[in-house]
Every structure is written in C-alpha cells, then in structure tokens.
Amino acid sequence: MTATTPAIEGWFTTGEAPALIGSRCTTCSTVFFPRTEGFCRNPTCDGEEFSDTELSRRGRVWSYTDAQYQPPAPYIPATDPYVPFALAAVELPEGIVVLGQVADGFTVNDIKVGDEMELVVETLFVDETGERTIWRWKPTTWITEPAEMPGGAS
C-alpha cells in the first residue's frame, strides 16, 4: 500500500491552498521558517514559546537558477535519465526569503527578479511508501492567465 506524503513532516500544509508552516515567537512576534522551538533567535528577545503560523502563499522572486547536472546524494532524482529543474528564492510579505524548486515544466526563461510566484505542492520523488511531495514555486502569470503563455525567453 502506498500513499502521497510530504518528503518532510511539518514544514508545509497540503490540499487546495498549501502553505509553508512557520513559527511565530509569542514574545516578539518574529516569524521564522523553517519552524523553530526552544529559543527565539532575535538577540533582544528571550522568548521560548512559538505558535505555528502559515506563511503567505505568494511572494516575489529574489533570484533564481537551475540545476543542469544531477545533484549528489542525499538528493533523490525523480526521473532516470535526470531532467534539470529550476530553483527560485522568493521573498514573502513576512520578510522571509524562501528557497524552493520551481514547479514542473518551468525553466529560468519563465522567471525574472521581482516576478510573483505562488506556492504549490508537487512530487519530489517516489519511494517504497509512495509519492513524496515538496513545496515549489509557480509563476502566477501561469496560474491567473493560462491563456497568455510567455513564449520562453525574453
């Protein structure tokens, strides 16, 4: 029996409107991602309690690149032969820049610094338990205006 499960537990929600899960310090309100516990990393805060908080699903591209060669282990390639994928660092309204792979089917030619991206959840790899998912960034131009597909480069 196999199921679709996140490749890492507790980092993001799944479903219709998936989101990253961060931690908000209950003392100084600073938001951290990935989730944190124990001690607040704001040097002027001695808070030790956090509440889970879903981060904004949309942000702006800080920068982007791709992986033309298969990364080494512990990366688990999704396909054989290897297919390159794009990566983006996206700045969220919370003031946090979060790295992620770019959604399947998009390349660096579909992105520019400052573009809006939305969080989606897609399959990272498949193992004996089934599909293992991860958060990814998808250009919103392709979500809101699917008819106006930019033709690659430019």
């Binding site: 600073t30 951290f32 690149t65 992986a67 033309q68 080494p72 512990p74 990566l87 790295l99 990272l124």
Partner: protein, 396 residues
C-alpha cells in the same frame, strides 16, 4: 594606530593541485617554507595554530597537534580552529590574540587540505536536523546554485552579463599565469568560459572554482620581536575581522533554505558588508586607502559582489570597474593578483591563509610576474559557512 599590530615574519605555501597525498605532508611543506622565509627555527616557535580539515579523519580535527607532531614535538602551545572557508582568519586571530597579550612570542599558523572530486556533498547518513543535508535532500541545492542566485541577481538588478563574468575569469587567469603556487596557469579566453557547459544558470563550468589540495602557512610575532631580529620586511597585520552576521540576516546564505525576517527592521549593513567594515574600523583606515585586494571568487560573479561589499566601489558599479580594467594589475585597485580561486581552486582551511601569503608578497614587492606596483595596504575577504566573516588587512 600601531598598538594592536603584529608582524608577519614569514609566509609559505605548498602549490595547489590534485596531488593525492595526505594533507599533513602539504602542511609541513608550507610550514617549513614559512619558517625558512622568516629565518626562524621550528624550535623557536612557541605557539602553533592549525586550520582544521573535516574530510581527513581525526588527524584533521586536531590539525594543530597533527602538524606539531609532524614537525617534531617542540612543547609549543597548540590550538586548532575551524570556521569553514574562514578557518585561516580565525586561526590567525587566535595567534594574534596570544601574541598581543604577551603570552606567546612566535606563532606558526598552518592550514592544509586534501579534497574529493566533484560537488562538495555532505557526509553520508540521514540527518534531518542538519540544513546542509536537508538542502540537498529537499531541494537539490548545490553550492554552485547559491553562487548562481547571486550572479543572476546582478544581471537582473544591475545589467551584468555572462560576458562580464567571463571577463573576471579571463583577468584572473592572466594574473595567475606566473604564480608558482597556482594550480591553473593558462590563459583563458572569454569564449572558453561562454562555451563551457552551464552548471547552474547563468554560471558556466569555468565561472566556478574547483576544489584543490594545498597548504599555506604564516609566521606571526610581536612587532618588537620582528624589529629586534630584523624579520619579515615590515609587513604588519592591522586588522582581522571574524564577525558573525547581525540579526536579521536577510541575504540567503549557503547552506540555508531561508533568510531571517526583515519585518522588524534590518541592520545598516548586510553580513558581507559588515565583514569589511569591521576590518576597516579595526585598522583605522578606509576603502580609499586600499592598494590591492584578494577576495573569495568561488564564482566569477562573486568577485564582483565582494568588490562592492568591501566598498571599493558602490553597489552595482563593479562591472564598470572590471570593464575599465581598474581591477586588473596596473589598474586603480587590482583584485586577485594571485589569480584567485579561479587559478587555485579551493582548499578550505588553507585558503584564507593563502590570501595573506599573497598580500605579504605583494607588500614586500616579491610577487614576481604579478606585482602590484607600490602596494602598501592590502585587504582580504571571504566568508565561512554558518556565519563566519573573514577579512584581514595588511600594511607596511
């Protein structure tokens, strides 16, 4: 301000390459070269600080003692430092502190490494609480991918081009041609860079530095000791900056997957800007006083970032400096006259010390075939994984 100066009595290196031998043998060659350069006997050294290497077993974890034993136990005080790429600066700082406190007289600082082939990947085993493991497992985020993020940002924000990045490689390859310690001593044409495979867009294979075997050593002593024995040619360490970032660190840093939040306000300087600023402040000089710089060109584009982080020009102006030839030997502010990592490849615990060796030769006027005329003040810059600043200012 000379109160906190220490003297560089001698420097030495083992040439960079892929020699396939134990790191200890490289370290001993560099240490003996530095001792010979200083004219100091190993038995007169009363402090040894080793730069740790994490890929060479227990001997690498206790590098200070490993080198001391290889040179022959002489009863010196011993320390070992690790700060990733900033290891050498931290080791120097440890030696400097004991000398300035009057607790040691002559210190030998050594770093050496033997490196594997290909991408630097994390050690084996599952480590779900280790960001350096998670970035590979969850994102496939390699080191070149981080360099590529910074490079792409220069292109989209400042209008940098891949041809600019290639020009950095062309310049550094030319600088390193006559450097006997460089691994790559061959002219490179811009087309060679642009025709090499893209590794992480927009960076080509030849934009990214290799990993190498190598070793570098520096002998430090008090200025009084140097003057008494006529050592070192008058080169002084004016500053060693080993700062951490200041919260919130809002520029994404290898190997992390996110930044801290800028929502509550951001520091005046980015982490990399603060590294050089702390060095300038400690030395009591400014960027306008610098004659030569050795910066950590893990990628060609990163050299341009460092030039701006060291305030040698304003943000977004480094490409113009490069295009004008200002950063070439003979220009206004030559950068990486050694050839940089482009010609050396990276040998982590040795690299920050290699930068200091090069500046020492430059300030003494001994950098044959790559001399920056009349250089009196030099600055190094690099950054170690997990928040280690590294900048050293030398002057004569």
């Amino acid at each position: 301000m000379t109160g906190n100066d220490v003297a560089i009595a001698g420097v030495g290196m083992h040439p960079w390459g892929k020699w396939g031998r134990n790191f200890v043998s490289y370290g001993v060659v560099a240490a003996r070269a530095a001792l010979a350069d200083a004219g100091i006997a190993w038995t007169d050294v009363d402090l040894i600080v080793g730069g740790e290497t994490v890929r060479n077993g227990y001997g690498g974890y206790v590098a200070g003692a490993t080198f001391a034993q290889a040179l022959g136990w002489n009863g010196a005080r011993v320390a070992t430092s690790y700060a990733a790429c900033a290891t050498g600066a931290q080791a120097l700082d440890t030696a400097r502190a004991r000398i300035l406190a009057g607790m040691s007289e002559v210190a030998l600082v050594v770093g050496a490494d033997t490196t594997p082939k290909g991408f630097l990947a994390p050690n084996a085993g599952e480590r779900w609480d280790d960001p350096d493991w998670l970035r590979f497992r969850l994102l496939g985020m390699t080191n070149p991918a981080y360099f590529a993020l910074y490079a792409r940002r220069r292109m989209d924000l400042y209008g940098a081009t891949q041809a600019d990045f290639a020009q950095v490689k062309v310049k550094n390859a030319k600088h390193g041609l006559a450097n006997p310690n460089a691994r790559y001593r061959k002219e490179v044409a811009a087309e060679d860079v642009l025709n090499s495979a893209i590794v992480a867009d927009p960076l080509h294979l030849l934009d990214i530095c290799a990993t190498s075997d190598g070793a570098a050593a520096v002998i430090l002593c008090s200025t009084a000791y140097a003057e008494k024995h006529g050592l070192g040619g008058g080169v002084r360490i004016k500053a060693i900056s080993t700062v951490t970032p200041t919260f919130p660190n809002t520029v994404i840093d290898m190997p992390l997957m996110s930044t801290e939040s800028s929502a509550g306000g951001v520091p005046e300087q980015t982490f990399k800007e603060s590294i050089g600023a702390a060095a300038y402040e400690e030395a009591g000089i400014g960027p306008e006083d610098v004659d030569v710089a050795e910066v950590y060109d893990l990628s060609t584009a990163l050299e341009l970032d460092w030039i701006e982080d060291l305030a040698l020009c304003k943000p977004g102006e480094a490409e113009q400096l490069l295009r004008n030839g200002d950063t070439t030997i003979g220009g206004r502010i030559p950068v990486n006259p050694s050839g940089g990592l482009a010609c050396f490849g990276e040998a982590v615990p040795a690299q920050a010390l290699a930068q200091v060796c090069e500046l020492t030769w430059q300030l003494r006027g001994q950098a044959e075939g790559r001399q920056v005329d009349g250089a009196r003040v030099g600055i190094t810059a690099n950054q170690g994984l997990f928040g280690h600043g590294s900048s050293v200012i030398l002057a004569r």
